[in-house]
């Protein structure tokens, strides 16, 4: 029986073979989005756990790598959402504005990084993949399960939002 069919039936040896084959790719996509090696490892583990749980829905005629990549991106975006909520909660509890709201005492790069973290996670993901990592739009579209025109639109919206934030901070003229 084919490796993918064995995996879809719940064969753990087949799953381990697929894990060994694709963990590097899944990890790199996670790292591109979450930017921290330890968190990227957690995302990789969570992604493979979800992959195994969703094995019955996997179509063995389709490429496993693209499917795994999409799940990993969803897990990473979930992580970005949690991170953003946590940061918002901390700033409310400490009764002080988010880091990017005050330019004083921060270097420009730090302010830009904070402003990126405050973007809505779906825009954050596209901006990081397209601008920082220079991943082609078609590849991002496949990984996120959206169209190429949606990738372009999100990139455009992310840049405009960041521009407004940076103008408020006095970073942009």
């Amino acid at each position: 029986m084919d490796l993918l069919e064995r995996f879809a039936r719940g064969d753990l040896d087949a799953f381990e073979t697929l894990f060994r084959q694709f963990e590097g790719d899944v990890y790199r996509w996670a790292l591109r989005l979450v930017r921290d090696p330890a968190t990227a490892e957690d995302v990789t583990i969570e992604a493979f756990w979800r992959i195994y749980c969703a094995r019955a829905r996997f179509d063995a005629r389709r490429p496993f790598g693209a499917w795994a990549r999409r799940i990993a991106c969803n897990v990473a975006i979930d992580h970005l959402k949690r991170d953003r909520r946590r940061e918002a909660m901390v700033s409310i509890l400490r009764r002080r504005p988010p880091v990017s709201a005050s330019a004083a005492g921060h270097d420009v790069e730090g302010l830009v990084r904070s402003a990126i973290r405050e973007l809505p996670p779906r825009l954050h993901a596209v901006a990081t993949l397209a601008i920082v990592e220079e991943v082609p739009h078609a590849e991002i579209a496949t990984a996120l399960g959206i169209s190429e025109s949606a990738v372009k639109a999100r990139r455009f919206r992310a840049v405009r939002l960041l521009r407004r934030k940076l103008e408020k901070l006095g970073v942009m003229p």
Binding site: L12, E16, F19, R20, E23, G24, Y27, R28, L31, R32, R35, P37, A40, E41, T44, I45, E46, F48, W49, Y52, V108, E109, G110, V112, R113, I116, A127, T128, I131, V132, E133, E134, F156, V159, R160, L162, R163, L166, V171, M172
Partner: protein, 74 residues
């Protein structure tokens, strides 16, 4: 806003964050994946479940007699 200004923002983003490179994880992650598979995970309540609980609690606080009615039906 012009394309040039957008490009300037993109340059700032690139300067603030560098690409992550092509490395893989530093340790073997398979044992941790196996642990996750072996450990039974409880059902996670969704946001809708929490919203329903909040509505129920709010309702009981707003009209305490509802709470007695709910208890009666249980």
């Amino acid at each position: 806003m012009t394309d040039e200004q957008d490009r300037a923002v993109e340059e700032l983003i690139r300067a603030a964050r560098s690409a992550t490179g092509l490395g893989g994880p530093e340790r073997d992650l398979w044992p941790r994946v196996r642990n996750c598979l072996d450990r039974p995970r409880g059902v996670r309540p969704s946001a809708i479940d929490w919203a329903l609980v909040a509505i129920g609690l709010g309702w009981c606080l707003w009209s305490p007699e509802t709470f007695a009615a709910v208890l009666y039906h249980f």
